[in-house]
């Protein structure tokens, strides 16, 4: 009579798999595949997250540098005083966005389905 039998191990494994699946279902968002860059509310660039590239977008304060890599994008440098959009780091999920407000530049990630109908900033 052992504490853990063959079937018990199977049940535990199945349970762990169930929990992991549930976690991915409930917490994992959809990965984005497109980056949308806006300046002063106008879309200046829409690009696929397929290969590494860098963009420089001009705003009232200066140039915001946006870096794109396969599957992710970030604001690499920005003249805004608090650097909030830079500190957000890499964006990967559909619906994520980094706003550099004083400079009026935004970077948004989109997937196949939009996470929100509209966002008001």
């Amino acid at each position: 009579m052992t504490t853990l039998r063959t079937g018990d191990a199977l049940v535990l494994l199945a349970g762990a798999g169930f929990v992991i699946g549930l976690t991915m279902f409930a917490w994992g968002g959809e990965r984005g595949d497109t980056a949308v860059i806006r300046a002063a509310g106008q879309v200046v660039k829409t690009t696929a997250l397929t290969h590494a590239q860098t963009y420089s977008v001009d705003g009232p304060l200066g140039a915001t540098r946006i870096e794109i890599e396969p599957g992710r994008a970030r604001v690499a440098a920005d003249p805004s005083p608090r650097q909030l959009c830079v500190k957000q780091g890499w964006l990967t999920q559909s619906g994520q966005a980094a706003l550099c407000l004083p400079n009026q530049v935004s970077l948004e990630i989109r997937g196949r389905t939009a996470a929100y109908d509209t966002l008001g900033y």
């Binding site: 009579m1 504490t3 853990l4 018990d8 049940v11 535990l12 349970g15 169930f18 929990v19 409930a26």
Partner: protein
């Protein structure tokens, strides 16, 4: 006042042998006895144990309401494995009811959640106990019952208390807690069952698996 002599004579018999009798002064005494079997006493004793664990557990702080070790399920599982599903259902029902009374949550939302969890858990156990015992031990039963428990609670909560997507984000937390606590409780049950049977004197006092 006329009293049937047969009725008067009934009063002379010992208490357990008389149903009702008429006294000399004409007062009428009714003696209702509910027969208590050894099974009833055992269920009551085990239910008291489960209720005690429920109360002790209520004192443990929890970061998320609903995430609890479910210690009473140790008792339920032991009862199931030793005395069958019927006894386990009785102990579980008594625990939910008396636990609600003692914690002051009788018929409050928390009580219904507890009842729904216990119900689904018992239903799962009714099926799972037919798994081949050679491969599936108490740990399997405990984990499945824990999932049933949280599943029943969340189903009721999602349908009645918090309709909407709010619960969805908490599902992984509850499921992970069910897996961990279910496994731990199952190991406890397996260990308790694997112990050598204690002496008859001990069995009358407080040791869960050997309560007669």
């Amino acid at each position: 006042m006329l009293i049937d002599p047969k009725r008067r004579a009934a009063c002379e018999r010992p208490a357990h042998a008389r149903r009702s009798c008429a006294r000399q002064d004409g007062s009428f005494r009714i003696n209702i006895e509910l027969p208590v079997t050894a099974d009833d006493r055992r269920i009551a004793r085990l239910a008291a144990l489960a209720i005690g664990l429920t109360l002790a557990e209520a004192a443990i702080p929890s970061p998320v309401p609903g995430v609890k070790p479910g210690l009473a399920n140790i008792v339920i599982l032991l009862v199931l494995l030793q005395y069958g599903w019927r006894a386990a259902a009785w102990v579980s029902a008594l625990r939910v009811l008396a636990g609600g009374l003692l914690l002051g949550s009788l018929f409050a939302p928390g009580f219904w959640l507890s009842a729904a969890g216990a119900l689904v858990s018992l239903a799962v156990l009714a099926l799972a106990r037919h798994l081949p015992g050679r491969y599936f031990g108490p740990v399997s039963l405990s984990v499945l019952a824990a999932f049933g428990h949280i599943g029943g609670q969340l189903a009721l909560a999602g349908w009645w208390l918090l309709p909407g997507a709010a619960l969805l984000k908490l599902l992984p937390v509850f499921a992970a807690a069910a897996l961990v606590f279910g496994a731990v409780n199952g190991v406890v049950v397996a260990r308790l069952l694997a112990r050598p049977a204690p002496s008859a004197r001990q069995s009358a006092t407080c040791i869960p698996p050997s309560i007669p």
